[in-house]
Symmetry: C2
Subunit: 108 residues, 2 copies
DNA sequence: TGCAAAGTTGCAAAATAGAGAAACAAGGGG
DNA sequence: CCCCTTGTTTCTCTATTTTGCAACTTTGCA
């Protein structure tokens, strides 16, 4: 594995790590509807605003969302909706595989 | 957020968590070429076979790969190549966004 | 039966991530 | 200028993850 590949795998891993928390998935789903400010989003998902801010900063760090200041509030919006389609696709794949696995077990 | 959505977000998060390590991404890339046994794959990626085994079990747990015993060795193979295509797509999207961001910064 | 190879599992240590509370920074309106 | 609202950051504690090593299991073969 050369340095270039190493960097690529690390980048992908970091992106997936940003996606590896239920709350962050939920927040991305909300951001799919419309841009939200931290405060409203925190209430919507039912957590402290400081925690919401931290989750959002992780998503922003890997480039999945962007922010824009509007006076005292910060509006976050989804950059790549395809990421969530990807999530659905992956979920479907895994669920389908699990289903087949169960069927296989039942048929024997 | 109802219980059903909660479970769905958790499932997706677990899948992404399985993808959130550079070594596991690398192993999936290798498995894209052909099925590998633990021993060979460990040598290929340059880690202890016990560690390779643990990484592989994480990928298997979420259904991304499958294993089959062949005598004393265990052959792992990729179940969902679309996951990796997905990873490339996502990477491209994020990189593209970052590139635009850089261009934007440079133009101002 | 004994041994070697291939994998898995258990354990302890180190590293990392997450939550909660409080402090801190930046605007906007009185 | 003062204060309130909005967000971010820091600190501490806890939980999870990763690693390296050793022990253990299973299988194939002499």
């Amino acid at each position: 594995m050369n340095a270039r590949d190493k960097a690529r795998y690390k980048l992908r891993a970091e992106m997936f790590k940003a996606l590896s928390h239920p709350m962050r998935i939920f927040m991305l789903e909300k951001l799919r509807e419309k841009p939200w400010c931290v405060c409203e989003l925190a209430v919507e998902v039912g957590i402290e605003k400081s925690i919401a801010s931290k989750h959002l900063s992780q998503l922003k760090r890997v480039g999945l969302i962007e922010d824009e200041k509007r006076g005292t509030l910060v509006e976050y919006r989804l950059v790549a909706p395809c990421i969530l389609e990807m999530a659905e696709c992956a979920e479907a794949t895994v669920l389908d595989k699990r289903k087949k696995h169960v069927e296989l077990l039942q048929s024997t």
